[in-house]
Symmetry: C2
Subunit: 135 residues, 2 copies
DNA sequence: CTTTGTGCAAATTCTTTGCACCAAA
DNA sequence: TTTGGTGCAAAGAATTTGCACAAAG
């Protein structure tokens, strides 16, 4: 938990009990969780935690560049503490999101366009994960 | 309008007045519209059209492979009649979605993973479009 | 004190569902 | 007729907003 506290400072985020708990969860559970998953995971040990705080916290983390909001899941926003260049895969059946590392770095380069001011790239794959491939 | 009618048959979609109108709109307006944009564009000339029908119609189009649902916009589903391999850009300021053609075909290849059964790739860029770059 | 963060409840927005009516074969 | 399509109204899910209270400096 202390690590999360320190980790937040790197991004000029004032650590509160709630913020540290959320960051700690993200660092320890690299599952690209939704707001609800974070809330459900933390609320047993923090009964007064509100979902609004989870929303506020993640908005702040994204704004400060501490986490990345993923556009892969139409239903809910998902968040990734790993802000390095990598891709994602979402299973159409169970909805889990996996990391895809090891793609060529060129794939994350920004294409030359005169008209657009691109600041981020997202590469997403869809299909069935190993567990769900039988279905 | 007659073209849209014929176009739908290619995908084994029975053309109705509503379906042809939606497909016609998609073919003539390559703006990756949301359900609401389609509904608002068509309802003046089809006053009895319901948004449910627009939802049903696009679900069917996606199911039959006639259009692609984009995950680029967290807020609303957006649809693209161009199902060929190309990327998209979304402006963070005005929300418009642009096509990005001309990327290397390798970028749309499916990475080799033993565990995942990938059937689709989506490459998305984010930033500010030309109009909004001043803001 | 004063500022910033938290949390409840209500409001909004997007999408889905249930069901009755309409249309085409 | 019978099947499939449409459209209304209500329900549901995710997110945002307004505001009062709590916490930290």
């Amino acid at each position: 938990m202390y690590e999360s506290h320190q980790y937040l400072r790197q991004f000029s985020i004032k650590p509160s009990v709630q913020r540290s708990a959320v960051m700690n969860f993200l660092l320890k559970n690299r599952i690209h969780p939704t707001i609800d998953e974070i809330y459900l995971a933390l609320s047993p040990s923090m009964p007064t935690l509100s979902k609004t705080t989870v929303y506020n916290t993640l908005d702040l983390f994204v704004e400060r560049g501490a986490v990345r909001a993923l556009a892969i899941d139409e239903r809910n926003a998902r968040y990734d503490v790993d802000v390095s260049a990598h891709a994602h895969f979402m299973c159409r059946s169970c909805g889990t999101v996996h990391d895809i590392f090891g793609l060529k770095t060129q794939m994350f380069q920004i294409p030359e366009t005169t008209k657009l001011n691109i600041d981020a790239v997202e590469i997403s794959y869809f299909g069935k994960c190993e567990k769900c491939s039988g279905n």
